[in-house]
Each structure stands twice: as structure tokens, then as C-alpha cells.
């Protein structure tokens, strides 16, 4: 099976460590992954902001860049949710590991207290369910803690964070308080768009570190 | 008003609808068979609305009614109530009938209770349905008095709402679905029983024997 990695523009620029972790996890379980260098962005931001034609163009581009692959792994729930209707061969990382490869223990070690925030697009639109949590639960040394009000949105919503900055900030404050209250040292999630927002709020106000769950799966002793 | 022909609101709205050209769609038809309901579940679920539920047999109906009517000053009944129920009633009842209809003011007198049957009862939702048939009366009869006693006969309990709808003899009759006493949750979402409808609802579920 020819497997491509779509790292997403946000990760390419701001969170290359998430991309490196995905490559590490995939290679660890024996998948030879490729990274087509012509990839850019899926078009989600344009699609969600009312630029249908521009988003359509980027969706088409994605199809051309990843035409030769049977599976495209994407470490972002919201990008997969945006891509899937047009490109059914895209998989969020946990879907690829559990549904395609049938693997739950990817050999990671991470001796820390971790809570998981299920980001909305991954949870509701993709129906990831507890897949990322199952992968985390198999990580060596991890202590998983529940997150109160986990299913509640963090208030990011793409351009919502700028267009409705007040409401977004109020939602963020509640989410950060819940994360701090969990007692964890790390909060993991499956979407680095939300992570930019939550992580930025946590470094501002103090609290656990926000990481993509792939970085925990890639933890080595 | 209700006018037809070119230029009327009716024709214009219908023309706008036609112009919208909504593609055809058909919903699947749910099954029509009427499923019997559990009277145990019915009793439980009515009680959860904080109505009083009494399960009884023909033999102890008289005692049950006497107890429920202990504080009643005026007992009102609709026409067509089974005479054997009234026979078991310890007090005199005033019957509402087309010839001698009771007024709302009469029904509003303190200490007024109304005794009725029902058309069907729904176990899953704890509901009694009145359709104005014999022994059920006009709608205001079970609305204005502060106390309503409703008898559910054997065989009247069905499983869920679709079964009840199918069991009703004539959907065009005025229908009232009653699930517990009137209630409001308008203040801080706290449920308070008893606003405008009868504040006391007693449901008497009669057993087979």
C-alpha cells in the first residue's frame, strides 16, 4: 500500500514536531510513508469562511497531489473532515492505525499525566470516538486523567476566534480552567488548529502543555 | 379572507411554493399494528410526574374512590360514564350533559373534582389520552376543576405514542394528552407541578379481575 502524509499547512509552519512524530510512529509500525512536496493546504479555512470556489480549487489540488496514493494520513481531525467527502482515501492518524492497520499499541513510552481534549470536528464530524484515547492508553508509563466537560468546544472555530473574539475568549477561559482542573501535565488533542488556540491560552495563563497526541505516541524511553 | 383566485394571498403563496420546485421525497410509512402496553410501566411513569397512581380491581374501586374523594365538595362527571363506577361512588355527582352544560364558573368552585375515563393510555410516556368520547366529557370538564380522577380500564394501555394514535377511533375529535398534572419549568428550570390545569391528578388503573 502506498501511503502519503498530508502534514497540513499549520503543522508545516508551526508544529513540525507533530509531523516528525507521525513519521516516527508510522515508521515504527513498519509503514513506509511518503511526503509529496507539492502539498500545501486542504482549503478548510476558505471553505468554512464562505469562499466556496477558492476552497474547491484547493480541494482539487489536493486530489492531484495525492492521486497516486491508496491512503493519505493526516494528523488533523478538521482537515480530514473537510477533505473526506471529496477524497475518501484520507485518514486521521488514529483511524489509519486502528481501522486500517489494526494496531493500538505503537510502542510509545511517556511517563506523564495526560488528559485528552476531543476536538469537535474529530469527535462529531469524523466520529473518531475513543480511538486516540485507545492509542494513548497503550502508551507505556502514561497516566490518563479525565477532562471535565471534555465534549465542549474550546472556542477556536477558525476565523471565529477573530470575528467573535469575545465569545471565543470566554470559551477558551472555561476550557483552560477545565484542563488545569484535570491535574494533568499534558493535554493532548487531535487537531493543531485548536491546539494553537488552547496552547496559546495555556502558556498565557499557566497550565499543562498542549501537545498533539502523536507526539505522545512517539515518546521513546 | 380565505379568498381564492388570481392575486389573492392564497394563490400567490401556492405559486411561490411551486416556483421553489422542491424535488419529490417520500418518508417510509411506520407500521400500523397496535402494541399492548405494560400497566406496571404506565403506573411507574405516571407516578414520576408526581401524579397519584392507584392500581385497583372492580372489587375495591368503591374504597379507592371514597379515599380519593375524601376532600371533595362537588363531584362532576361527564355523560356516558359507566354506571357501575358511579354506583361505587359514595357521593352524589353532577352530570355535565349537552342539555345541562356546566359553566366554567361552576367547575371553578373550590372543592370540585371530576371523574372520567379515557380513550387510551400510553405506558412508555405515562400518558392518558381523552378524546371526548363517552365518559370523558368536554375539554373544559377536565381542565377547570382543580382535581381530576381518571380511570384506565383493562385493555386500554398501549405501548407508545404511535400505538395510541392508531387506537383512537376518530382523530378529528378534540384530543387531550395528559401526562401528569400541569407543570412549569420556567423559573430556573425548576419543575413546579400545578399551574393552570388540575393541580391534583389521580390515575386509577383497573386490573383484569
Amino acid at each position: 500500500m502506498r501511503v502519503g502524509l498530508f502534514v497540513t499547512c499549520v503543522n508545516d509552519l508551526l508544529f513540525p514536531r507533530t509531523g516528525r512524530a507521525v513519521v516516527s510512529v508510522l515508521e515504527h509500525v513498519g509503514v513506509k510513508v511518503e511526503f509529496p512536496l507539492d502539498q500545501t493546504c486542504c482549503g478548510q479555512m476558505h471553505g468554512n469562511s464562505g469562499y466556496r470556489k477558492k476552497a474547491g480549487g484547493l480541494l482539487d489540488r489536493f486530489g492531484e497531489v495525492f492521486a497516486g496514493y491508496e491512503a493519505v494520513v493526516v494528523p488533523s481531525g478538521s482537515c480530514v473532515a473537510f477533505l473526506r467527502e471529496r477524497h475518501p482515501h484520507v485518514y486521521e492518524l488514529s483511524e489509519f492505525l486502528i481501522d486500517v492497520l489494526g494496531v493500538e499499541d505503537v510502542g510509545g513510552v511517556f511517563p506523564h499525566r495526560v488528559t485528552y481534549h476531543p476536538t469537535c470536528h474529530g469527535m462529531r464530524m469524523l466520529g473518531l470516538g475513543d480511538k486516540p484515547v485507545r492509542l494513548l492508553a497503550a502508551v507505556g508509563g502514561i497516566e490518563l486523567l479525565p477532562l471535565p466537560g471534555a465534549a465542549e468546544c474550546c472556542g477556536f472555530g477558525g476565523t471565529f476566534a477573530l470575528k467573535n473574539a469575545g465569545v471565543s475568549a470566554a470559551m477558551l477561559a472555561d476550557k483552560c480552567a477545565a484542563i488545569r482542573g484535570s491535574g494533568a501535565d499534558y493535554v493532548a488533542m487531535a487537531d493543531n488548529s485548536c491546539l494553537t488556540h488552547i496552547g496559546g491560552g495555556l502558556t498565557r495563563t499557566g497550565g499543562p502543555r498542549a501537545v498533539h497526541y502523536a507526539e505522545i505516541l512517539a515518546g521513546r524511553p | 379572507m380565505g379568498a381564492r383566485g388570481p392575486g389573492t394571498a392564497r394563490e400567490e403563496i401556492l405559486a411561490r411554493i411551486a416556483a421553489a420546485a422542491v424535488p419529490p421525497a417520500r418518508a417510509p410509512r411506520p407500521q400500523a399494528a397496535i402494541r399492548e402496553g405494560s400497566t406496571v410501566m404506565l403506573a411507574e411513569r405516571i407516578a414520576e410526574y408526581r401524579a397519584t397512581v392507584v392500581e385497583c380491581t372492580d372489587a375495591d374501586l368503591a374504597d379507592v374512590l371514597a379515599e380519593l374523594l375524601a376532600e371533595t365538595v362537588h363531584l362532576v362527571v361527564p355523560s356516558g360514564l359507566p354506571p357501575e363506577w358511579l354506583d361505587r361512588c359514595s357521593m352524589d355527582a353532577v352530570a355535565d350533559s349537552p342539555k345541562h352544560p356546566l359553566t366554567a364558573a361552576e367547575l371553578d368552585r373550590p372543592g370540585t373534582s371530576v371523574l372520567t375515563g379515557c380513550a387510551v393510555a400510553i405506558a412508555r410516556t405515562g400518558t392518558v389520552v381523552l378524546d371526548g368520547g363517552p365518559g370523558q366529557g368536554r375539554r373544559l370538564l377536565t381542565l377547570v376543576p382543580d382535581h381530576h380522577i381518571c380511570l384506565v380500564r383493562p385493555g386500554q394501555t398501549v405501548d407508545d405514542v404511535p400505538d395510541a394514535l392508531a387506537a383512537l377511533p376518530d382523530p378529528a375529535r378534540p384530543l387531550t394528552f395528559v401526562s401528569g398534572p400541569s407543570a412549569t419549568s420556567d423559573i430556573e428550570l425548576r419543575r413546579i407541578e400545578g399551574v393552570h390545569g388540575p393541580r391534583r391528578l389521580n390515575v386509577v388503573i383497573m386490573g383484569d379481575r
Binding site: 503543522n11 508545516d12 509552519l13 508544529f15 513540525p16 511526503f35 512536496l37 476558505h46 468554512n48 464562505g50 477558492k54 462529531r124 468546544c153 472555530g157 471565529f160 476566534a161 467573535n164 469575545g166 465569545v167 475568549a169 470566554a170 491560552g201 498565557r204 | 379572507m1 380565505g2 389573492t8 394571498a9 392564497r10 411554493i17 416556483a19 422542491v22 421525497a25 411506520p30 410526574y49 352544560p101 366554567a104 371553578d108 410516556t125 405515562g126 368536554r138 375539554r139 377547570v144 405514542v161 404511535p162 382523530p171 375529535r173 378534540p174 384530543l175 387531550t176 394528552f177 401526562s179 401528569g180 412549569t184 420556567d186 423559573i187 430556573e188 428550570l189 399551574v195 393552570h196 390545569g197
Partner: protein, 450 residues
């Protein structure tokens, strides 16, 4: 104020009201927990939602003929059916039917939408709201802020103060005492009213019947005691068959109040001799609905049965309440209905993070996030920027140059105080610092240019 700023501006004021936020949070969480519990009891809930959706789809597909059938059946049963193109026409029809100075009213979204109370007041008719929450709002000279619990933004001590000053001097703040005060205040009016005004939750084409779902019994009072009953009904309330109520009466109470069944549901068909109103009028109202019907994506908003489950789970509604939406219909459903019904309210489709909680609970599966995105029209000032971004993202070489520029910017910019409009970001969040190299640079360094 520009239309694009209407919701954010209104929201700012509400966010600052800490008492409002505490009241809203308590109420929405209470009701959503109740809903979750009673929905979990229904084994075939997802099938039921799908059935609800398909029945509504069928109703819209056949709307013209179903309305005509409804009119025919209701008329045959003794009702008079009127048609109104818009709010003004509907108000005029109702006002022309009323010859008294006071009418009793059942809570109705349609009459609120068309501004009926105000129109009647202009003709010297006082419409007494009889639902407890509507009464509270009316006594306070305020507007409802929730489809189902219009006074959700009041706590008990505020209601006590209001009642003390108006209908029940000396009342205490126990909710039971407040409900009792409302009962006493309205009792006389019910018993003497000659005209009742209602909406309807459903209109059944097969039988010509109307349905009102309620809790307090004020609805039954208004539907039963007056001689004349006038019901204002949006044309999208039509369902084809009587049996369809078997679907909606299972979906609605569990979704709205979180009960297995609401205390009272009334169904009536025209006039019943000797029982209830002997003059029955039905006003079928378009008021923008046929405009919504034209949009293949947006028309699903007309499936709405006004349960308000979407409001109760919406994180945005929870923090600002209904008034910020500036329309009768608030919350997620309001954000897709108001712009379509009116052609205005362009900031509302953006008043959502697209978190999808509304779609998950909608009993008739309205894909609210899909319609929100569909209705989003970008403000002109933003378009050149987004156009430039998409041009960059469409060309790998430009994209790589863009990455370099963005990294330079992110490394130089103060992470905690960016200039406007990005100051909206850094007001409460830090900007992430870029790492040593982009992902693609790392990849080519370690894996080569595959």
C-alpha cells in the same frame, strides 16, 4: 454599525454580564442533562430522528398540495382558513377578527415573529401572554431570549422583584409561590376571555387538525374556554398524516424539555359543537418561508420543530443568550433561519465555531453547520486578504516563500501583542513560536526529495 459586526457587538455587552452568564450556564446545563437522560431510554432514537427528517422532507416536497388539503379538511370541519403573505398581512387579518379589547394568548413563536402583540396594541387590543415565562417577559417589557424558556435570562429573585411590583405584592422568591401568583393573576382572565390566540406545533393535512404542545395548562385554557380561537401557523408546520405525530410527539418533548412527554398536548379539528370555541380561525403565514424553500441547502431549516435542543447545547448561546442574535429565533437555528427569512442578519452565520453540537442533538437532523457555512458571505474588507492567501496556497513555490515569510514574521512579532486585527488573537493567547525548521525542510534533510 455594519451588519458583519452586529452579533459580535451585541455579544460583547452580554459577555460582561456575569449574572446573566451564570444563570444561562445553570439553565442550559440542567436542561441538556435532562435531555441526555430521556433520549438514552429510546433504543431507536437515531432511526426516529431519521424518520422525523424524512417526514419533514416529504412535507416540504408536497407543501402546496398538503396546504390545500389542510385547508379543505379544516374548512369542512368548520374552521375558516386565511392566508398571509407576510407579517403585516397576518397581523391585519388577526386584528380584523377581534372586536374586544383583550385577548388571551398561548406562547407562540410565529406570533412573536410577526410582531402580533405590538400590532394589536396599535389597534387598542391588549394581548395577555399566559405562559409563565412569556408573562414574566411581558411584565418586564422585555423580549424573550429562548425559544422554549423565554425568561431563561431571569433568576428567581429578579422574577420576585418583578411580580412584587406588578401582580403579586409581597410574594417571596420560591418558584412554587411565583407560579401560584401567576395562576391567581391569570385565572379570572381565562374564565372571562372571549378570544384566544395561539400558534401551533403541527398542522395535519390529512385531518385538518392543529396541535399545541405545552406544560402549564394555559394553552388548554386559551384553546378551550374562549368562544373564538385564532391560530397563527407558519406554512412549514404542515405534516402529511395524523400518524406522523407518532414520530414528532416522541421526538419533541424529549428534545425540548427533557421529558418523556409534556404535561398537555391538545389536538383539535375545526369546531366541535358544544365543546370549545365555536368560531375557529387559522391564519397560514408565509413571511419569508417560501424564500427559504427556494434554497436547496438552506431549506432544511424549515424542518425545525422549535424544540430548542440546539440552543441548550450551543457554547455560543450559553455565553451570550438569545438577545444578542437580534431576532425572534436565536441560537444555532436562529443563526440559519433569521438570515434566510429576512435576507438580513448577515453576521449570524458567523456566530458559530461549527462545533456541531447542534446537529448532534437536532431531532430532525438539520445539518446546521452545513447551512451556516453555506450562508456565510465574506465581508468585502476581508476578501483581498483571503484571495491573496488562496493564491499563495495554490502554488507550491509561492507557498514555500510564504512559509519563509510567515516564519520570519512569527519570529520577529511580539508573541503577546500583535497589531490589529491580530490583536484580537493575542489579547488572550500567545502566538506559537516557530521551530528551527519547517516540516518540509526537515523531511528533505532526513528523507531526501521523494
Amino acid at each position: 454599525m455594519s451588519q458583519a459586526e452586529a452579533f459580535p457587538k451585541a455579544a460583547e455587552g452580554k459577555l460582561a454580564d456575569t449574572r446573566l452568564r451564570a444563570t444561562l450556564r445553570g439553565a442550559t446545563h440542567t436542561i441538556r442533562d435532562r435531555r441526555t437522560a430521556v433520549v438514552a431510554e429510546v433504543g431507536d432514537w437515531e432511526d426516529l430522528r431519521e424518520l422525523g427528517r424524512t417526514v419533514k422532507e416529504e412535507a416540504l416536497a408536497d407543501l402546496g398540495s398538503l396546504l390545500a388539503r389542510f385547508e379543505e379538511r379544516a374548512t369542512a370541519a368548520g374552521a375558516t382558513v386565511h392566508w398571509a403573505r407576510d407579517a403585516a398581512e397576518a397581523c391585519r387579518i388577526v386584528a380584523d377578527l377581534i372586536t374586544v379589547t383583550e385577548v388571551v394568548k398561548v406562547k407562540s413563536m410565529a406570533t412573536q415573529e410577526i410582531g402580533l402583540n405590538e400590532a394589536l396594541a396599535a389597534r387598542g387590543v391588549h394581548a395577555v401572554e399566559t405562559d409563565l415565562a412569556e408573562l414574566i417577559v411581558q411584565l418586564a417589557d422585555d423580549k424573550p431570549s429562548h425559544l422554549l424558556v423565554p425568561a431563561i435570562h431571569y433568576n428567581r429573585s429578579q422574577i420576585r422583584d418583578l411580580f412584587d411590583a406588578s401582580i403579586a405584592a409581597g410574594v417571596d422568591d420560591d418558584p412554587a409561590a411565583l407560579a401560584e401568583a401567576a395562576r391567581l393573576h391569570l385565572r379570572e382572565r381565562f374564565l372571562t376571555a372571549s378570544v384566544g390566540v395561539s400558534g401551533a406545533n403541527f398542522a395535519i393535512a390529512e385531518t385538518g387538525s392543529l396541535v399545541v404542545v405545552e406544560s402549564e395548562g394555559n394553552g388548554r385554557m386559551c384553546l378551550t374556554l374562549p368562544d373564538t380561537l385564532i391560530s397563527v401557523v407558519g406554512i412549514e408546520k404542515i405534516v402529511p398524516r395524523f400518524a406522523d405525530l407518532g414520530v414528532f410527539l416522541r421526538l419533541l418533548p424529549r428534545s425540548s424539555t427533557g421529558e418523556r412527554m409534556n404535561p398537555y398536548t391538545s389536538i383539535w379539528t375545526g369546531v366541535t359543537p358544544g365543546d370549545g370555541p365555536q368560531a375557529v380561525h387559522i391564519v397560514l403565514v408565509d413571511n419569508g418561508r417560501t424564500r427559504v424553500l427556494r434554497d436547496p441547502v438552506g431549506r432544511q431549516a424549515l424542518h425545525c420543530i422549535r424544540c430548542s435542543a440546539c440552543l441548550n447545547v450551543c457554547p455560543v448561546y450559553e455565553r451570550v443568550g438569545g438577545h444578542a442574535y437580534g431576532h425572534t429565533y436565536s441560537g444555532p437555528i436562529g443563526a440559519i433561519l433569521a438570515p434566510q427569512l429576512t435576507g438580513g442578519h448577515r453576521s449570524l452565520p458567523f456566530a458559530s465555531t461549527l462545533c456541531g453540537a447542534c446537529y448532534e442533538v437536532c431531532p430532525v437532523k438539520i445539518n446546521i453547520p452545513e447551512v451556516l457555512v453555506h450562508l456565510r458571505e465574506p465581508p468585502p474588507a476581508e476578501q483581498p486578504v483571503m484571495g491573496a492567501v488562496s493564491a499563495v496556497l495554490s502554488r507550491p513555490r509561492w507557498y514555500r516563500a510564504g512559509l519563509r515569510l510567515a516564519r520570519w514574521f512569527a519570529a520577529m512579532a511580539p508573541a503577546r501583542r500583535l497589531p490589529w486585527p491580530l490583536s484580537r488573537w493575542t489579547a488572550v493567547r500567545d502566538l506559537p513560536r516557530p521551530e528551527q525548521e519547517t516540516f518540509r525542510d526537515w523531511w528533505t534533510r532526513t528523507h531526501g526529495r521523494t
